[in-house]
């Protein structure tokens, strides 16, 4: 409490008093990375103190551009801003404001006899440089990915949109850690109501800390319990930019090597930037493959269960006899067999992801050999089930987006159960219910399956893409200020 009151105070002109306050706030000398430099400014004939945090500021810059000019100054007419070469930010007198700047890596300079602090930009956080995209790999097109430094991320975006209408607005979203969020949008495209909704949602947050975007996602989602994602997370700046240019809103944050795109439709999860980088035919071919993979992942295990339990007559005779022969020695019903292998596959996947790199290959051997071959040899599962589970597992990777990938993997189990209970009828019923759900589902007010259903003016980029010359419009469901992307010059 005492600290709270102290923070709301303003500093006075007595330098020593001020320094004592800051020393107690920062627990100096217990706190070791806070640097307090006392110095005497020649020319002005005054004592001064510079406070900064060593680990997040550029000490060389402080030394060269603030301390040294002050020490070597002999001119009595110059102001502090003129003496120091470092970028001057502001002056503050309220303790809380000064603290906030120091905590962000800036340097505060206090002068004896002045009741304000001079703040200089000396921020230098440590982080990695711009690297290749790891999760959203593409063969053609730009390779660079976002990293944890938001300034670098924004620069990656600005590099692609050289336009004054690109706005990067910053909002502080947490009370204690003061995490800052950047709302990025095109001023002349974005729908104002949508923007206002997003801002209202962000301002209504009352939390101590939000570390990064992955955490924020759950706070701002409309239906965070749903099995389908409603916000797209991408680590590719090129992808973010193409969404911005369509009138979407992107969120960026420090410590987040990605951006959040909203609103998101089903198609934005299904698409991959490579679809547009490849030639028209090839791009649509991989779309087709991805769509097939999606269907295979969802249905192949369920079809197997339904067909061999309820619809034997639809299996080709030779296959029927082959299944019948191999299943004769299996002690479990088909549903247990499938579940055993599906769960084993999920385990391999999860364990394979968490395992430290040097042990990685071992997991592969154990997974493929022990669980595949040995399970068949031991008459625990039939060979066909291994094929089916491997196929459905493999195909689930063709859907690149991690969130949609999870959705599909989970829904697959629902289909397996419904097939075990009701056969094809169960699969069809669940699929119908799922379509009902998807059609009524919304992300920030935008229907999830738009523009396919309900129909909107758009470039019709859904399951397949059109020729680039024919992609004339921005998505109508966003109600952008300017719907036309290009003139029809085909």
């Amino acid at each position: 409490m005492e600290e709270e009151i102290l923070k709301n105070k303003t500093i006075d002109s007595d330098l020593e008093n001020t320094i004592d306050i800051f020393k107690s706030l920062y627990s100096v000398p217990m706190n070791t990375d806070v640097s307090i430099r006392n110095l005497f400014i020649g020319g002005l004939n005054r004592n001064a103190t510079a406070i900064s945090i060593k680990t997040i500021s550029d000490s060389e810059k402080i030394e060269e551009q603030i301390i040294r000019p002050l020490l070597s100054n002999s001119d009595s007419d110059l102001t502090i801003e003129d003496i120091c070469a470092a970028q001057f930010l502001n002056t503050h007198s309220q303790i809380q404001e000064i603290l906030k700047d120091i905590n962000n890596g800036n340097t505060a300079l206090f002068l004896d006899g002045e009741n304000k602090a001079y703040l200089f930009d000396t921020v230098k956080f440590h982080g990695r440089s711009v690297e290749k995209a790891i999760n959203e790999v593409s063969l053609r097109g730009p390779k660079e990915a976002f990293n944890e430094d938001v300034a670098a991320n924004i620069s990656l975006i600005r590099k692609k949109i050289r336009n004054e209408n690109l706005v990067v607005e910053s909002v502080t979203i947490s009370k204690r850690s003061n995490n800052e969020l950047y709302i990025v949008y095109m001023k002349d495209l974005v729908n104002d109501k949508l923007l206002k909704d997003v801002k209202d949602k962000l301002n209504s947050l009352d939390v101590n800390a939000i570390q990064n975007l992955s955490v924020l996602e759950e706070y701002i989602e409309d239906s965070s319990k749903s099995i389908f994602p409603t916000i797209l997370s991408t680590e590719r700046p090129d992808r973010t930019v193409s969404f911005l240019e369509d009138g979407y809103i992107a969120l960026l944050m420090n410590n987040s090597p990605d951006s959040l795109i909203l609103p998101a439709t089903f198609w934005s999860f299904y698409h991959n930037p490579e679809d547009h980088y490849l030639r028209f035919v090839f791009g649509n071919f991989i779309r087709l493959l991805r769509f097939l993979a999606l269907l295979i992942t969802l249905f192949v295990s369920a079809f197997y269960i339904a067909a061999i339990n309820y619809h034997v007559e639809m299996i080709p005779s030779d296959l029927l006899l082959a299944i019948s022969a191999t299943r004769e020695v299996i002690p479990f019903p088909a549903i247990i067999e499938i579940l055993l292998m599906e769960i084993a596959f999920e385990l391999i996947r999860e364990a394979g992801l968490r395992v430290p790199n040097p042990i990685g290959p071992t997991i592969g051997i154990v997974g493929a050999l022990i669980l595949g071959q040995a399970a068949v040899d031991a008459n625990i599962v039939s060979p066909l089930v291994v094929i089916i589970v491997a196929l459905s597992g493999l195909c689930s990777f063709a859907v690149g987006d991690i969130s949609l990938n999870f959705s599909i993997r989970l829904i697959r189990f629902l289909f397996i159960f419904s097939a075990a209970l009701f056969g094809f009828y169960g699969i069809t019923a669940l699929f119908t219910c799922g379509i009902f759900y998807l059609v009524s589902f919304r992300s920030f007010g935008v229907p999830y399956l738009a523009p396919m259903t309900p129909k909107y003016i758009s470039s019709k980029d859904t399951i397949f893409r059109k020729m680039l010359k024919k992609e004339l419009y921005r998505p109508g469901y966003l109600k952008p200020q300017d719907i036309e992307k290009k003139k029809d010059n085909s």
């Binding site: 061999i308 339990n309 309820y310 034997v312 007559e313 005779s317 030779d318 029927l320 006899l321 082959a322 299944i323 019948s324 022969a325 191999t326 299943r327 004769e328 299996i330 019903p333 088909a334 209970l421 009701f422 056969g423 009828y425 169960g426």
Partner: protein, 416 residues
């Protein structure tokens, strides 16, 4: 409180779902015995039938650990109908009997000629596991004997044997395409004759005077170590009951005249060489265009004019007459073949009109178009009127190739 209630409701619903589900008649795929051929025959008991199951052994499909078990099992017993037979069989067969893999229904000729045959056929329409596209084979001997003697040497997977032989014999035009559905359809329409595949494993020695395809199953002398079963010709059904047979050649003509049945591939056959009585010419026949059937049913003497376009490649001729380069000889050949085919067709039509008093050509369907109302058609009574209709056949043969190498050496010169 509300959430607890909600939870309870959801739990109740989840509990009910398994009760609603179809698990109760679920049998695992490996716990079924698959009947490939279902034999129906006369039983000693008046009110029963002799049911024969040919059950396939799936073990053969296994890749590893080849088995010593036989590829098939035959069980035969008297039963009230084919539906109850599924249960009776379980006193011997360990697995649940399933008709899912049924590829043929085998009926003995003796039983097919009985009046009660139709009643038992309709049992098949009632059983949900029996599909309507299953072919019917009529056998000369008992169905059980046919199935027991049927030991194809190269197709130990017996379902494959039935699928393949019925298909290729049908394409060759030796047997008609006869499935359960058309049996019911034709019987119910009560206007045409239904043709079913005729087969036997009893080889008889008499009546072997004719050549090539003018036989019925069992009359063909096939030597070698092979399956005894022959499928050729067809059994003729009138009003659901068998009344006679057609030979292979007659079956071919019936198929040729029947647009509905016609899915013959190109067939090979021989005709008399007009220039040398000793030899024949071999031809490959294709019916490219539909046959043209013109009916005049309103006049006092109803008549049907059928014109049949036939496209023919002459493959070989032993007389070594140079047809390829001699248009006059070609014309003679054409006239001779046309005459031969017309005679054969006329013979068959005569047989159907006089002996069977019905036609298997599916013409009743075409005849319906000649009437404006259904009552008019019904009053005409196609089946009754058919024997009195005058039928004129005209065959138009057109030649294509004369073999891969059309130029032949002079026979005398080679001799020299």
């Amino acid at each position: 409180m509300m959430t607890l209630k909600y939870l309870a409701q959801v739990l109740c619903l989840l509990f009910i779902i398994p009760l609603l589900s179809a698990c109760w008649d679920q049998t695992s795929i490996d716990q079924r015995a698959y009947v490939v051929a279902l034999g129906i025959g006369k039983s000693e008991n008046e009110n029963q039938i002799q049911v024969t199951f040919l059950i396939t052994n799936p073990e053969l499909s296994k890749k590893e650990a080849t088995t010593n078990e036989p590829s098939q099992e035959i069980i035969s017993f008297a039963a009230n109908d084919v539906i109850v037979a599924r249960n009776i069989a379980n006193s011997v067969i360990a697995k649940e009997i399933s008709y899912n893999l049924l590829s043929a229904i085998v009926v003995s000729e003796e039983f097919a000629k009985e009046d009660r045959f139709l009643r038992y056929m309709y049992d098949l329409a009632k059983e949900p596991q029996i599909k309507r596209n299953i072919p019917i084979i009529v056998t000369k001997e008992k169905a059980r004997g046919f199935l027991e003697n049927n030991r194809p040497l190269l197709e130990s997977r017996i379902h494959k044997y039935f699928d393949l032989i019925l298909n290729s014999a049908n394409e060759a035009g030796l047997i008609p395409k006869s499935d359960l559905n058309s049996y019911f359809r034709i019987t119910e329409a009560d206007a045409d004759l239904f043709l079913a595949t005729y087969g036997t494993s009893e080889i008889s020695q008499d009546g072997k005077d004719s050549v090539e395809d003018n036989f019925i199953a069992g009359k063909m002398d096939i030597q070698g170590e092979t399956n005894q079963v022959q499928l050729m010709g067809s059994a003729v059904f009138k009003e659901g009951i068998m009344i006679g047979t057609l030979t292979g050649e007659e079956t071919r003509i019936a198929i040729l005249l029947n647009d509905i049945l016609n899915n013959m591939g190109p067939i090979y056959t021989t005709y008399q060489d007009p220039f040398n009585e000793k030899y024949k010419v071999t031809a490959r026949i294709q019916t490219e265009k539909k046959i043209d059937v013109k009916m005049d049913l309103k006049s006092d003497q109803p008549s049907i004019n059928v014109s049949i376009p036939i496209y023919m490649d002459i493959m070989t001729q032993h007389s070594m007459v140079d047809y390829a380069n001699d248009s006059q000889k070609r014309e003679t050949l054409q006239r001779s073949i046309e005459e031969e085919i017309t005679n054969k067709i006329n013979n068959l039509i005569k047989k159907t009109q006089e002996e069977y008093k019905g036609e298997p050509f599916g013409w009743s369907v075409l005849a319906r178009k000649q009437f404006t109302t259904i009552t008019e058609y019904e009053n005409f009574d196609w089946m009754k009127s058919y024997p009195d209709i005058k039928i004129n056949i005209s065959v138009n043969v057109s030649f294509g190739n004369f073999g891969e190498q059309s130029i032949l050496p002079d026979f005398e010169e080679v001799r020299d």
